[in-house]
Assembly symmetry: C2
Homo-oligomer: 109 residues x 2
């Protein structure tokens, strides 16, 4: 991946978009957890919720990596998965936006 | 611990009481999980729910041990913790009931 430089304005945009995606995905997990809790047919199925949360935690720890060296790919994934939209990244230089779109599009295949 | 013999009738009583305690405790965990989910001040606190469930799962795996060699102690703990009452064990021989009461009382100190 190309090692882009990020200026202060871009860093602020990136941070805001990153945090937004994180909040959105956590909120989604909370809603999914509530739904699972409200639809248990057997009390011991509670452990499936633990399995679900444990899996999500690992995925999230792995996905939300705010190193500038990997951020383009991270944003591509977050856009592909729908946690943010390309408009949340407006203000980044066009070469970065192109690359993020490219990653997001590539994941569709 | 004394190695008691369990006749068929006692085995049936023990199984019912054991399952009742398990259901009661799982239901309690479900309610606690719902309360935690409904009172999150920050989305990322969802991981505290995972920590809670993970801890409870380990405790439950350890506690609900249906080997006859340890069942007296298990029932003592379940009575002490309130997941069943002594009356759920009615029909067990008096020497077992005494021993279970003794374990439950001992845990209070």
């Amino acid at each position: 991946m190309i090692d882009f430089k990020w200026n202060q304005k871009e860093k602020a945009i990136a941070r805001t978009a990153f945090d937004k995606a994180f909040q959105n995905e956590c909120n989604h997990i909370i809603e999914a957890a509530k739904e699972r809790l409200n639809n248990l047919s057997d009390p011991k199925e509670i452990w499936r919720l633990e399995d679900y949360l444990s899996k999500k935690r690992k995925q999230i720890d792995q996905k939300y990596d705010y190193r500038y060296s990997v951020l383009i790919r991270v944003f591509g994934v977050l856009v592909y998965e729908g946690w943010i939209e390309m408009k949340d990244l407006e203000g980044l230089k066009e070469e970065k936006l192109q690359r993020i779109r490219f990653v997001a599009e590539g994941l569709k295949d």
